[in-house]
């Protein structure tokens, strides 16, 4: 069976990312130690260029290539945009965060580029084998990045913990995939969809449950969330930002494609368990975020609770709000959460502390930083006119539309609880006096990344129409 050459054109972004990563490896080798930042700028330029072929695919009809193993549809394109934009911003924020901690600065940009490639592959895989491989690809890059500071005990702990949890949950997930293959005789998601109707139900429940373990680990869904706070706290902060945004987005892309394409036609009712896990995730994440003093741990628990909100969009997938709600929530969350982590990088880099009390009086020391942090906190809570509000609005609408009123009520209560710890950060920044002088504004690339994140958060909230159109197109093409 010859490989259809014309299919290669559909993989231009992936080829470009792979070539970019290899190029960066070689560039890094031949640059002297103090010029390593050039690797980062080369990565940013390369990633900006790859946005062109990705955006060019927005209008093309949905199809699968390479014997139906790889989907080229609006859904995949949407997640590729998120992956590339998030990676660009994370690379910008990394540029000064590594100095003095490691002698492997260039490799970080390489790993981030390859992780972006993995996220793109995860979002577009339409075959269980390719899906498992691309999940491993993202995971392996992330394990290395989480344990990047070799001499820092916490970073080591983060790397080992992430690796052990990841390996175990991947094993369970792949076992689930193999059961699914045994039941249907297919690894292709669309072929499984044809055969899943006649599969015996208990075994299918087992297979879906096991697959959820791996995908739930990636999106840090309860009960597969335990790694999140420790890894976010120990990993370099830009890496934590990447894990909280790009890795989570990839997990949701794979989860949604797996459930809605392959499992939806079958006899298994997956909506009720996902709705239940959604409620548990958002509640547990919120309650555990309340007592946190470390901003990275607080953001980690908040990311667990946001996984719960996003799962609500997965459960409420029917109708006009569900899938677009999930996507627009994810888009707003990308900019907002990246921004919050970038502020943590700026403050942590200047003050050497990630504790929330050390944010005291940030408004006097650097007004701009405090203002954007306040914006991100409000957006994470879901208060207009920020992007977070639009996402919550859509997802709550979807839940009500799908008859999940109880879940919407739980989510509203949780939003109110979340207000407490998000606004607490604003209170500390604005109302408490600064202990000592010294401004805390970051270096230029970090400020650039912060500006883009703040702009994204605001624009999605104030002028949502183009984004609504984009996610509408992305969600409709999903099922082909």
């Amino acid at each position: 069976m010859p490989i259809p050459i014309e299919d290669l054109w559909s993989l231009v972004p992936e080829f470009w990312l792979a070539a970019l990563g290899l190029l960066l490896v070689l560039l890094d080798l031949f640059l002297p130690g103090d010029r390593k930042r050039l690797v980062g700028w080369a990565a940013v330029v390369g990633l900006l260029l790859v946005l062109m072929p990705i955006l060019g695919m927005l209008g093309t009809p949905a199809r699968t290539v390479f014997f139906n193993t790889y989907a080229v549809d609006g859904f995949a394109v949407f997640f590729k945009i998120i992956a590339v934009v998030a990676t660009i911003l994370v690379i910008l924020s990394t540029m000064d965060a590594l100095r003095g901690h490691t002698s492997f600065e260039g490799e970080m940009y390489v790993l981030l580029t390859f992780a972006a490639l993995g996220v793109c592959l995860m979002a577009a895989s339409a075959d269980l084998i390719l899906l498992a491989l691309s999940i491993e690809f993202v995971s392996l890059s992330s394990y290395v990045m989480a344990g990047y500071f070799k001499s820092d005990l916490r970073s080591n702990e983060a790397g080992i913990k992430y690796f052990l949890f990841g390996a175990a949950s991947s094993a369970v997930m792949i076992y689930g995939f193999s059961i699914l293959y045994g039941l249907t005789g297919e690894t292709n998601l669309y072929a499984i969809a044809d055969r899943v109707r006649t599969a015996p139900q208990p075994a299918l429940v087992l297979a879906v449950g096991m697959a959820l373990a791996g995908l739930g680990f990636k999106v840090s869904m309860v009960p597969f969330h335990q790694w999140t706070p420790d890894v976010y706290e120990g990993a370099p902060t830009p890496v934590a930002a990447f894990l909280a945004v790009a890795s989570k987005a990839a997990g949701f892309a794979a989860l949604v494609r797996f459930l809605m394409v392959a499992i939806e036609p079958g006899p298994v009712d997956w909506v009720a368990p996902i709705a239940g896990l959604s409620a548990v995730s958002m509640t547990l994440g919120n309650l555990l975020a309340l007592p946190q003093r470390n901003i990275k741990r607080m953001l980690a628990y908040s990311s667990i609770s946001h996984a719960g909100f996003l799962l609500m969009g997965v459960a409420a997938h029917r109708g006009d709000f569900g899938a677009p709600g999930l996507l627009i929530y994810l888009l707003a969350y990308t900019f907002t959460n990246l921004g919050a982590f970038f502020v943590a990088i700026a403050v942590g880099g200047r003050l050497g502390s990630d504790e929330i009390p050390s944010y005291a009086g940030l408004a006097q020391r650097s007004a701009g930083l405090a203002a954007v942090m306040a914006l991100f906190m409000l957006s994470l809570t879901g208060i207009p006119p920020t992007g977070g509000f639009l996402g919550k609005f859509y997802i709550f609408g979807a839940a009500v539309n799908n008859g999940l009123l109880w879940l919407a009520v739980v989510a509203v209560i949780n939003s109110v609880v979340a207000l407490y710890y998000y606004v607490n950060v604003i209170r500390v920044m604005y109302l408490l006096p600064a202990p000592s002088g010294g401004s805390a504004s970051g270096p230029v690339p970090l400020r650039l990344a912060l500006g883009v994140a703040a702009l994204g958060t605001l624009v999605i909230g104030i002028f949502p129409q183009p984004f609504v159109t984009l996610v509408g197109a992305a969600a409709m093409l999903l099922r082909m």
Binding site: P2, L22, V25, T184, T198, P200, A203
Partner: protein, 127 residues
């Protein structure tokens, strides 16, 4: 019925496997138990030595291995696997034609970039 596979065969066909499983577990549990019950135990120093094909043990099992060994070993496995891919490619080279050649060049090129990286970073130095 849930124990029917889509093809219609009963999962009951797997009863022999279950029987086999039970026998294996039972036997592996029974033999050490029997030994402990009726075997008796009179240890002498030579009996307590680990048995290695009748050869005397030399040194400790817990030797420390230099960490460089693992680096070299991993690189060896990587390039060993490369040859595993090269051999079947060589067998069907004529049928794959130019496409196969380009694909293999890309594959070798990626690994080559990795080798240059490892080399330049000093992974091949035993120092």
């Amino acid at each position: 019925m849930w124990f029917r596979t889509p093809g219609g065969d009963l999962l009951l066909d797997y009863i022999p496997v279950l029987v086999h499983f039970v026998i294996v577990v039972g036997l592996t549990a029974a033999l050490p138990a029997l030994h402990a019950l009726v075997g008796g135990s009179r240890p002498t120093p030579p009996k307590m030595e680990p048995y290695e094909s009748g050869v005397w043990t030399i040194g400790s099992t817990r030797e420390r291995v230099p960490i460089r060994y693992y680096l070299i070993a991993m690189l060896f496995i990587l390039f060993d696997i490369e040859t595993v891919f090269l051999f079947p490619w060589a067998v069907v080279y004529r049928r794959l034609g130019a496409f196969g050649l380009i694909e293999m060049l890309v594959f070798v090129g990626v690994l080559g970039a990795g080798l240059i990286y490892a080399w330049k970073r000093g992974a091949l130095e035993w120092e």
